[in-house]
């Protein structure tokens, strides 16, 4: 009986995370079209609902009722499995995200490792989608994406190793609490780990296959990359996973380097602004989410060899050097190691 109650309670908590996430994805797509529209002196969507707020739901309904077209020589099983393999890790990673002190689905000790493991699984969906579709464009997109994700994962992992060294813990809640202090936002990890902060977010953009690193989709060369043969609901699943991953990376950058739910004015002023709150976390994550859109509106797509060079020859050496630097800084007591 207790087991059943626990199961029901856990399911309720999962829904409490997943449903707002899906809604957030829906409005993120609207925000993307609006923001990029304004940046390019257009209006973006205007028609459906006040301020076009019903646009995402219209899009969803349209996508769900479209016909599913499967290529004749596709590998049926893997073709259907691929979108699910993309979506499942994108949502599973949310299990260890703390939204406020003590507010997380699971507070496992190796939370950061779990996150890295889950985000590294998403690439299977992309590879299999490209291969199972039995299409040249899809296959090219999948190959590009696989090489890119594997490369940037290393830089991302090493950037997080620096966070682990600075915080002394793999538990995400402890990582946030290690950034607490009376000097407001100067206590956060962005300062001692500034290069890692930059590397982490750029690698995050590359990991999620977003502009300017979106060669896996590359409309101008390979139509839509790995999901070119997917239509209707199956395409919607890829879309959902991509945007869920973007929001996840935004939240993680806020948690790892900008003190999560901690207030930027902690120790300076009292009252609501000085208190830690989940609103801070969402505000910080929104900045990064906005950056995703900003990048897309601003930068031209990278050439493939430039992407590889940036990942292997620039980011990975910087991160490896910074692991040593932060270790020395902590041993020399220049940076206080928080636990």
């Amino acid at each position: 009986m207790d087991d059943l109650l626990l199961l029901a309670w856990t399911l309720a908590k999962i829904l409490l995370i997943a449903v707002p996430l899906i809604v957030a994805v829906a409005f993120f797509t609207l925000a993307e079209r609006k923001v990029i529209g304004w940046m390019q002196v257009r209006l973006g969507p205007t028609e459906i609902g006040p301020l076009a707020l019903a646009q995402p739901f219209a899009d969803t309904a349209k996508m769900l009722f479209k016909e599913l077209v499967m290529p004749r020589n596709a590998d049926r099983f893997l073709y259907i499995l691929a979108p699910l393999l993309t979506l499942a890790p994108a949502f599973a990673a949310w299990a260890v995200i703390p939204f406020d002190q003590g507010v997380a689905l699971s507070q496992i000790d190796a939370g950061l490792l779990y996150l890295l493991a889950m985000t590294s699984l998403g690439v299977y969906g992309v590879i299999l989608a490209g291969w199972a579709s039995n299409s040249k464009y899809a296959f090219l997109g999948a190959m590009r994406s696989a090489a890119q994700i594997v490369s940037y994962e290393i830089a991302m992992g090493f950037a997080l190793v620096c966070v682990i060294v600075a915080s002394g813990s793999l538990n995400i809640e402890k990582i946030v609490l290690a950034q607490a202090g009376n000097a407001g936002f100067f206590e956060w990890f962005w300062l001692p780990l500034l290069p890692m902060f930059v590397v982490y977010f750029i690698s995050g953009v590359a990991e999620t296959n977003r502009a300017p690193f979106d060669v896996a989709e590359g409309e101008s060369e390979i139509v839509a990359g790995f999901h070119v043969e997917y239509s209707g609901a199956a395409f919607a699943v890829f879309f959902l996973a991509e945007y869920a991953n973007m929001i996840l990376i935004s939240l993680l950058a806020a948690i790892m380097f900008l003190g999560g739910w901690l207030s930027p004015f902690q120790g300076w002023i009292g009252g609501f602004l000085g208190e830690p709150s989940f609103l801070w976390l969402f505000a910080k994550a929104s900045i990064f989410a906005f950056c995703y859109l900003w990048f897309r509106a601003t930068f031209p797509r990278y050439r493939y060899d430039q992407i590889m060079r940036l990942g292997w020859k620039v980011f990975i050496p910087i991160t490896i050097v910074w692991v040593a630097v932060i270790a020395v800084l902590i041993v020399a007591k220049v940076v206080e190691r928080g636990v």
Binding site: D3, D75, L78, I108, D109, A110, L113, Y114, L116, A117, S120, L121, V123, Y124, I127, L128, W131, F139, A142, M143, A146, A147, I149, V150, E153, L170, N171, D305, Q306, R309
Partner: protein, 204 residues
């Protein structure tokens, strides 16, 4: 039987089925995906044994990185399965011999009188505190030399793999990113001044 035993049996069954599928499936990509499932299920088993660090690392390293590259190569090669199957009957005796030796070794180690499990002290079922911290403590104190030696061997393997496969070929055109960045307008663009056609003495 409690909940954990049922979970173990379910996972173990899945593991055996997936491992069997790796060697029996005809399509190499399907076989590679079965191997992914095998790794993932064994990671689950490790987590069930409260070795969450090892379990998650198995997923991270083998499923997240090694198998992705493996799948990458398998897809690129477009392996023709038929010639591979021809040798099956020919190599069957050798395979059976190896399998038999391995089985005998495992029986000798796990079930015999000399190395039986009951002869060793049981490891503590639940490590107090963080699993990762406990593992780190052991690796960097009691086992620091074996750990360092293993690391050096891996480094040697990396260097050897690159040294063996890296060839410098002549006549290959490569981009030099430094030069690409340093290029200026004057290097590429030459403005040529020419007299216009409409001046006196020219044109219609």
């Amino acid at each position: 039987m409690n909940y954990e035993s049922y979970l173990f049996l379910a996972l173990a069954t899945l593991l055996v089925i997936a491992a069997g599928a790796v060697v029996t499936l005809r399509n190499p990509v399907h076989a590679a995906m079965s191997l992914v499932l095998t790794f993932f299920t064994s990671a689950m088993l490790w987590i069930l044994l409260r070795a969450e660090f090892l379990g998650i690392t198995l997923v991270l390293v083998y499923v997240g990185a090694v198998m992705v590259l493996f799948l990458f190569v398998v897809m690129m090669l477009d392996i023709n399965v038929v010639p591979l199957r021809e040798g099956f009957a020919r190599y069957l005796p050798v395979g059976l011999l190896v399998a038999g030796i391995m089985a005998a070794q495992m029986v000798a180690v796990l079930g015999g009188h000399h190395f039986g499990l009951e002869r060793y002290t049981a490891p503590p079922a639940v490590i107090e505190g963080s699993n990762t911290a406990a593992l780190g403590q052991l690796l960097y104190t009691g086992y620091v030399y074996p750990f360092e030696i293993a690391a050096v061997i891996l480094l040697v393997a990396i260097v050897a793999a690159i040294a063996l496969t890296h060839r410098r070929r002549e006549g290959v055109k490569l981009q030099d990113p430094g030069k690409q960045t340093m290029v200026r307008k004057a290097d590429r663009l030459r403005v040529v001044k020419m007299p216009s056609d409409t001046r006196e003495g020219h044109g219609a």
